[in-house]
């Protein structure tokens, strides 16, 4: 299995590279091999089973969108690759987003969502109900993301703002995105395993780590 972390120098403001580390380590501890590729902005997109996108500031976000639009991410996804994106990475995957000095900047167009500028920045703890479970994290963005009909949100916001105050992120057949930035997969071991299991294509054996304690503590603090 190959995981490619895309442009961490552009989209990696909030320790987002941690998600790649967590996936690789949770696979390794189960005796599975994950090859981690870090794709820098002067490289072509390599083949991978999973692409990861992080958060970033306005200028770098624009540059990342340009690179991804010109590259063949959409073709890779059509061929079966998956994408997990957070924060600015979420916005970049949509048809358009707003950044400083530009109200409508073209995204990759992989998912039918658009992001406009919110009235104020959303900064703080974020908790999202995803099915029966809670996803916990931290958000820091100025966007309001609207989903086209037929695009499913990742979950319902329990605390914080997420995409629009009610829902956070989105899920398609091969793309998952959330506004919970940074190492959201480190905070939510169950979610990391769901992303991993989708790539592997089979259920994973249970794994106990110190992250379980962290998740329990954050849920107790942020949950309903």
């Amino acid at each position: 299995m190959r995981v490619a972390l895309l442009y961490p120098e552009l989209l990696g403001t909030y320790g987002d590279g941690g998600n790649a580390l967590v996936l690789a380590e949770r696979a390794r501890r189960r005796g599975r091999r994950v090859e981690l590729a870090t794709v820098t902005l002067d490289e072509r997109l390599p083949a991978a089973d999973l692409y990861l996108l992080g958060g970033g500031e306005d200028g770098p976000q624009r540059l990342a969108a340009d690179l991804l639009r010109r590259g063949d991410l959409a073709a890779r996804v059509a061929d079966g690759a998956r994408v997990f994106a957070v924060c600015a990475g979420l916005q970049v995957l949509g048809t358009s987003f707003a950044v400083e000095g530009d109200d409508r900047y073209d995204g990759v167009g992989l998912v039918a969502v658009t992001t406009v500028r919110g009235e104020r920045r959303s900064v703080g703890d974020l908790a999202v109900r995803v099915g029966e479970r809670l996803l916990v994290g931290f958000e820091n963005h100025g966007g309001v993301t609207r989903l086209a009909d037929g695009v499913a949100p990742l979950g319902e916001v329990v605390r914080g703002r997420g995409s629009d105050g009610r829902h956070d992120g989105f899920v398609t057949e091969r793309v998952v995105a959330t506004y919970a930035h940074g190492p959201v997969l480190a905070l939510n071991p169950w979610f990391a395993d769901e992303v991993l299991a989708a790539v592997v294509g089979e259920e994973l054996e249970p794994l106990s780590t110190v992250a379980d304690r962290l998740y329990a503590e954050r849920c107790a603090r942020l949950g309903p």
Partner: protein, 387 residues
């Protein structure tokens, strides 16, 4: 501290916390400019090294210097420092967001711009936005010398508008926040000879050059024999000596006086505590932690790390994943502080053995403890182990 508190009360202002990146002179600006008038002022700003560099400027100057050494680096702290020491030169550390207002009020002889990297991102304090505000400020500094880090592209972007710049080449190792060009967003190229961009923006030629074994200030070789540890403090001293040279202090004499600085507000202090010995190291953000790890990775004895995520620390500890903790592989780290589980998870995924301490442990009697802590955790430990 008393003076600050009293002044705050007197002026009817609370703690000088900056929220949402909006900062300015909320106090009557004439108060600070009145106190600064007629004296030589050196301002020091940047993400890391403000307090230490300011302390080195003050020590190197020789004689009485007004310093805001209470940890308050916004206007209340400056007013208190100047009111407490009338008529003497001043060395003031300044919060990055407050720099334009403080510079306008104090008309400094020198402004030192150390570095810019990610810190407290939950305050929307995006690094490039600060660089832009500094750039606007520098364009207005007619009579001031800006002592600027030529090795840091964001600082160079900010300082290039200043009429008078003393560029310092100190080989800043932290580059994650300056990968794309601040002018044209093309990728920056880093080489032995410096960094450059496709648009022509490139590392300025420096008049202060620090290497592993030598320091040259305006062509003068200066011996540097610091009690403070690490490459980071050699860089801090290089900035301080460059600033002092620009206000007429002989760098060699100043370097001699700096050598005596052993700790700065608890930083690097060795404390006898509960039958053991604890050495205190402050690291607040990825760049600071990265530099601290270089120094503590091989330290003898136990390694303890304490992390909080209060307002003053930044409430989002995501930055833990930007710190190369993998350097500590092979050691067991005792995890402390309110976000010890975030830290333990980060270390565990990085292949470092952890011990989560839910209560404050006793130090071992037979070997030293090196304690690395972020801002408010450091304050707690500084107070806890104070003699």
């Amino acid at each position: 501290m008393l003076a600050v508190n009293r002044l705050s009360r007197l002026l009817g202002r609370g703690e000088g916390t900056v929220i949402g990146g909006r900062a300015g002179l909320a106090l009557d600006p004439t108060l600070l400019s009145g106190l600064a008038r007629g004296r030589t002022v050196v301002l020091v700003s940047g993400t890391n090294g403000k307090t230490t560099t300011t302390a080195l400027v003050a020590a190197g100057w020789g004689g009485p210097v007004a310093v805001n050494d209470t940890g308050s680096n916004m206007v209340q702290g400056h007013v208190a420092a100047l009111a407490g020491r009338p008529g003497v030169p001043a060395a003031l550390e300044v919060d990055e967001s407050w720099l334009p207002g403080i510079a306008a009020a104090t008309r400094p002889a020198v402004v030192v711009l150390l570095n810019l990297s990610r810190d407290q991102l939950d305050r929307a304090n995006e690094v490039r936005r600060v660089a832009l505000r500094w750039r606007d400020l520098c364009a207005t500094l007619g009579d001031t010398v800006v002592v600027a880090n030529a090795s840091d592209p964001l600082v160079a972007f900010a300082a290039e508008t200043a009429p008078h710049v003393a560029w310092c080449d100190v080989a800043t190792p932290w580059r994650l926040d300056a990968v794309s060009c601040p002018h044209c967003t093309a990728p920056l190229t880093f080489e032995q000879t410096g960094w450059s961009s496709a648009c022509g923006f490139a590392q300025p030629r420096a008049t202060t050059v620090l290497t592993e074994g030598s320091l040259s200030v305006d062509g003068l070789e200066v011996g540097l024999d610091l009690a403070l540890p690490g490459a980071v403090n050699r860089a801090n001293a290089a900035f301080a000596l460059t600033a002092l040279a620009r206000v007429g202090v002989d760098p060699r004499a100043a370097a001699g006086r700096m050598a005596g600085v052993r700790e700065v507000a608890g930083r690097y202090a060795r404390r006898a505590w509960r039958g053991g010995e604890v050495r205190l190291v402050l690291a607040k953000n990825p760049a600071g932690f990265s530099a601290a790890l270089e120094e503590v990775a091989g330290a003898p004895g136990e390694l303890w790390i304490a992390v909080n995520a209060r307002m003053a620390d930044g409430r989002d500890p995501s930055w833990l994943y930007d710190v190369p903790f993998e350097r500590l592989a092979g050691r067991t780290v005792t995890c402390l502080g309110e976000r010890r589980l975030d830290l333990a998870t980060r270390l565990d995924y990085g292949g470092v053995a952890v011990r989560v301490a839910d209560a404050v442990p006793d130090p071992p009697p037979d070997r030293p403890v090196t304690l690395v802590a972020n801002y408010t955790a450091f304050q707690e430990w500084n107070a806890r182990t104070a003699p």
